[in-house]
């Protein structure tokens, strides 16, 4: 019987090209990923099954937690314009340097008089500063002014309505959230977003 000789095939493949591509993509994703900055007011958002994402720009986030209210606007130009507007309203002048720093900041929760101090701090110190929250009682409703001024700035710059999102802590009492909703509704903002975590339907 004739022996059929099987050709010995090499089992190894050349991985060099694959490796190159993989690392190229990896570099790309690492560079595009944005580093997460620690929030000034960490909140534990409640979970929901609804999965719609928040926009990246023209967005204001009102963070509510531990009885405090913090405010954040996305978009550098809008932030600058808002700070200008708030400065004019409350008679505080902010320098160009202040505005540039404010544009790069994240959420804050101080009365407008103390904002300059927060702007001058380093990013790491801001979270430790123990910010008292933005006043929103009927005598001194600064949150209302922040909202008004930032909405106007968005319309001026982008010709768009500012989207508002409420990021509340799961354990926050409802009346506090209701108060924020009331402030929004007083300005005829009847549609807004609630920031939530994700979960499956099976709970």
């Amino acid at each position: 019987m004739a022996k059929i000789k099987m050709k010995k095939k090499s089992t190894s493949t050349d991985m060099t090209a694959m490796c190159d591509v993989a690392f190229l993509l990896l570099t790309f994703f690492i560079l595009t990923a944005t580093a997460k900055v620690p929030e000034a007011l960490p909140v534990d958002t409640p979970a929901s099954t609804v999965q719609s994402k928040l926009p990246d720009s023209d967005l204001a986030i009102i963070t509510v937690g531990k009885g405090k209210v913090f405010f954040d606007i996305k978009g550098r130009e809008i932030r600058k314009r808002t700070l200008e507007g708030m400065g004019a309203k409350y008679g505080i002048t902010f320098s160009e340097d202040d505005k540039a720093k404010f544009a790069l900041m994240d959420d804050f929760g101080v009365p407008i008089a103390g904002l300059k101090q927060i702007i001058d701090m380093k990013a790491a110190d801001r979270t430790k500063a123990g910010q008292p929250g933005i006043p929103l009682d009927s005598l001194d409703n600064q949150l209302k002014d922040w909202l008004l001024v930032s909405r106007r700035a968005t319309i001026d710059l982008d010709d768009k309505e500012l989207q508002i999102a409420i990021k509340g802590d799961a354990k926050e009492e409802y009346p506090k959230i209701k108060k924020i909703m009331d402030i929004l509704q007083d300005q005829k903002i009847n549609s807004f977003n609630l920031v939530t975590g994700m979960r499956g339907k099976d709970f």
Binding site: C19, L25, F29, N193, T196, G197
Partner: protein, 182 residues
């Protein structure tokens, strides 16, 4: 795929020193594995780190509150859900003075309020005989309820597909009593 370097373990039996043939290939499999794992990680985290959100539209506040009451709604279509302290949840169908069902305590989640909502939704459509005239849910978050409770109930609305719901903040004294009862 992996190459095994089987060097002979003979150990100079013949006395001849043979230079070992060096394999010039490096096994890249593990490296590629790792690279793809990291790619997957970064890809997923960049798109998932965007916070999820839930849309909420409320009716215009400045509208005359009496106007709403003129809008006649069949009370057999309404279901009222009240939230209280410590995840307490009370629901009833129809009017509180003459309820169709309840008032009853119920749990959150799929075995509690969701099952009830789905059943009620079906029965209301059977009752009206019109798909457009479905159940109307009135959500009443009590002053001691947590924000999580509100989101949970709004989430149930989204899951069960109840399109018409309203958040109402005023309580009748009798409802308050129900909610505070242990």
């Amino acid at each position: 795929m992996a190459e095994l370097n089987t060097g002979d373990g003979g150990g100079g039996k013949g006395g001849k020193v043979r230079s070992k043939k060096q394999n010039s290939k490096v096994d890249l499999t593990a490296m590629v594995d790792l690279a793809f794992l990291l790619i997957t990680f970064f890809m997923l985290t960049t798109s998932l780190s965007k916070p999820q959100s839930m849309d909420l539209s409320l009716p215009d506040k400045n509208e005359d509150p009496t106007k709403d009451k003129d809008l006649k709604v069949d009370e057999k279509r309404t279901m009222t859900i009240m939230m209280g302290e410590n995840n307490k949840l009370v629901y009833y169908m129809g009017l509180l003075d003459a309820p169709i069902a309840g008032p009853k305590d119920i749990a959150y989640g799929k075995d509690g309020i969701r099952r009830e909502l789905l059943a009620r939704k079906k029965s209301v459509i059977e009752y009206t005989g019109n798909k457009d005239k479905g159940i109307i849910v009135i959500i009443k978050p009590g002053t001691k309820s947590k924000y999580k409770n509100l989101v949970d109930i709004l989430d149930e609305m989204a899951i069960t597909g109840v399109g018409t719901y309203a958040i109402v903040n005023d309580f009748q004294p009798k409802e308050k009593e129900l909610l505070e009862k242990k």
